[in-house]
């Protein structure tokens, strides 16, 4: 299987004047194309830090990140990283992170806006993915008018609109009840199985993790399984 994410000897240390915290220690992970991987572990074990580093939202203190065959070097500018994220990665966050002053349609089209795609094409594709997540009737609604599950569906639509190879989901069901959680997981599985998207999902939920293709576990910044 072709490797799409490769983390080598990743260390992440948070330093303040008084304290030094090792969030990740010598992490080595390879994720194959089309995999659905769960990352599990207790709070504060470094799962989200790992996901942020994979998603180029944060930099490792040391180690190498390779995504889709490209080694992410320190020399890449902020703009180059932004472009790379835009084209390669989609994010789903626990607290949705939708923009409250934009409606569903505008929230979903955001990645295409930064890719420089024209208005009509953006709208066409946004409608398409909104329909796919089952929210065609909510396009003009703002996030405050939606339930948690609907917000997460919007977030998923936003994550997939740019057709990224990789979707990184940080506790996507963490703020949802079990039924909505199951719905969202079903949607992610569908994206993995039907579209062949690679998904890395951080979760606390053992039952949900069992439904993914592979699980890795973390404890105190180290991969234990």
């Amino acid at each position: 299987m072709e490797t799409i994410i490769k983390l080598t000897d990743i260390n992440k240390v948070y330093r303040t004047e008084e304290i030094e915290t090792q969030a990740l220690e010598n992490v080595n992970i390879e994720v194959g194309k089309g995999e659905f991987l769960s990352v599990m572990g207790p709070s504060g074990c470094g799962k989200s830090t790992l996901l942020n580093i994979m998603g180029l939202l944060d930099e490792p203190t040391s180690g190498t990140v390779e995504l889709c065959g490209t080694t992410i070097s320190h020399n890449l500018s902020d703009n180059q990283l932004a472009d790379f994220r835009n084209r390669t990665l989609g994010f789903v966050f626990q607290s949705f992170h939708l923009i409250s002053s934009l409606n569903v349609l505008d929230n979903v089209q955001l990645p295409l806006l930064y890719r420089g795609i024209g208005y009509s094409e953006r709208i066409r594709r946004a409608k398409e993915v909104i329909e796919r997540v089952g929210l065609s009737h909510r396009m003009k609604h703002t996030p405050v008018q939606l339930s948690g599950g609907q917000c997460q569906r919007v977030a998923i639509a936003r994550a997939i609109i740019g057709n990224p190879e990789i979707i990184l989901a940080d506790e996507p069901t963490g703020n949802l009840d079990s039924k909505m959680g199951a719905d969202i997981l079903g949607l992610l599985k569908q994206l993995n199985e039907e579209d062949g998207r690679t998904i890395v999902m951080v979760t606390h939920n053992e039952q949900q993790a069992q439904q993914t293709k592979r699980i890795i576990k973390f404890l105190d910044g180290r991969q234990i399984q």
Binding site: G55, L57, N79, N86, I99, S101, L110, L113
Partner: protein, 420 residues
């Protein structure tokens, strides 16, 4: 363009959501803009080419020549008057002048109030001017009835009055041409003009009587393409010729030639148009805007802190810092433009309520001038709107760009984890 529309839509949505912030921001911007615009409008009304002083940008006022004794004394005394013959012989042939009007300095006129009456009516206070036929070529008056003065009128007992005076003396909708009113003497009305604003004080008058004695000021409209320097050269040649022909006196126009803007601002500035004045005023205006802009930037900084998670998400999905800066500035501009509109309304209100004080603050004739009327042209000129827009942009950039840029430097994860 689409991005711009999206930003504007978001800005309008946020305006509704954050009413307190928007209200304070708009009010702050409006006041800053209003103060600046009051200055701009006052200078515009006094210096731009507006009715009836449509030739201000090429109007030059020439005071009597200096007379310098040839015996070596330094005493310099201006000659008192240009006689009409002198004007015809020496000045009318000048190549750089399109029109020359012989007039009396307004400071010599507005010292005392004059009165006019008709038959047994109550005397009406009037601003009286002695002018020649060319006065009506230099300034653009609208005649309701009758005609302007002709060169042959210089010794005639006739007058032109403004419509407001005509209505007070003869009644409304009455054509007074041919009727005789009394002022310093009996004068037959030959024309009625639409009243003009006393803000245009060089041309302002309510009772115009033909000039017969000569002038202590020449009002010259330069030919298109001619400069003040061309006129100065010609005038100095005249002074030289007169000096050569005089046994006891040398003549000079040193410090006697005043372009409109310079005269209006009581001299001291080497500026020839109101545009130069505005440029010269820019540092003061900048400081005037800086103080509110700094306060507003504090507000923007606080708002940016609240919006850090949004900025983090946008960056996560590929937004570049300059795109986000563009977005914040555009959103802010929506608020600033609202502030600009409110500011313009405040400007007009301030100018209307305090018109006497504001427009005569730099005039020596405030006590004798009637309360100024404010013409639409003074307030609604496209240029005034352009200036207002420029001021909006400056306030916007000063208040939004720096706090936005600083907050956008935050790392993505830190931004996204910021509590709203």
């Amino acid at each position: 363009m689409n991005k711009l529309l999206l930003y504007v839509r978001q800005a309008l949505h946020m305006m509704k959501e954050e009413r307190l912030f928007s209200g304070i921001y708009i009010a702050g911007t409006a006041l800053a803009i209003a103060f600046t615009m009051v200055i701009a409008v006052v200078y515009y009304a006094k210096l731009a080419d507006i009715e009836p002083e449509v030739n201000r940008s090429r109007t030059v006022y020439v005071l009597p020549m200096l007379e310098i004794p040839k015996n070596g004394y330094e005493l310099k005394e201006p000659t008192n008057f240009y006689s009409l013959n002198e004007m015809k012989e020496w000045f009318y042939p000048m190549k750089s002048a399109e029109v020359i009007s012989a007039s009396i300095k307004i400071s010599d006129f507005f010292r005392d109030k004059a009165y006019a009456w008709y038959k047994d009516s109550k005397p009406v206070p009037v601003v009286e001017r002695l002018v020649d036929a060319n006065f009506f070529k230099v300034y653009h008056f609208h005649f309701v009835y009758g005609r302007p003065f002709a060169p042959a009128d210089s010794l005639s007992p006739i007058c032109i009055i403004s419509r407001d005076i005509s209505e007070q003396l003869f009644g409304k909708e009455v054509n007074p041409v041919g009727k005789v009113l009394t002022a310093t003497t009996d004068l037959r009305v030959v024309g009625v003009i639409e009243p003009t604003s006393s803000i245009a004080e060089q041309s302002f008058g309510q009772l115009f009587i033909p000039q017969s004695d000569g002038a202590n000021m020449m009002t010259i409209v330069l030919k298109e393409g001619c400069s003040v320097a061309d006129l100065e050269k010609e005038l100095e040649e005249i002074a030289h010729k007169r000096s050569v022909s005089s046994k006891n006196l040398d003549y000079s126009f040193e410090n006697r030639i005043w372009p409109h803007a310079q005269l209006q601002l009581s001299g001291g500035r080497e500026l020839s148009s109101w545009k130069d004045i505005l440029l010269a005023l820019f540092p003061q205006v900048f400081v005037l805007l800086l103080v509110p802009a700094l306060n507003l930037s504090g507000l923007v900084a606080a708002r940016m802190k609240r919006r850090l998670p949004e900025m983090g998400v946008r960056k996560a999905f590929g937004a570049k810092r300059r795109e986000l800066l563009h977005q914040v500035i555009t959103e802010n501009l929506v608020l600033t433009l609202w502030g600009g509109i409110v500011g313009l309304v405040i400007t007009w209100l301030l100018l209307y309520v305090f018109r006497s004080w504001v427009f005569f603050a730099v005039s020596n004739h405030a006590t004798t001038m009637p309360e100024p009327t404010i013409e639409g042209e003074m307030l609604f000129s496209p240029l005034i709107f352009l200036i207002a827009l420029a001021v909006c942009l400056i306030v916007n950039l000063m208040s939004a760009a720096i706090p936005a840029w600083l907050s956008l430097r935050n790392p993505i994860v830190e931004s996204m984890n910021q509590k709203k």
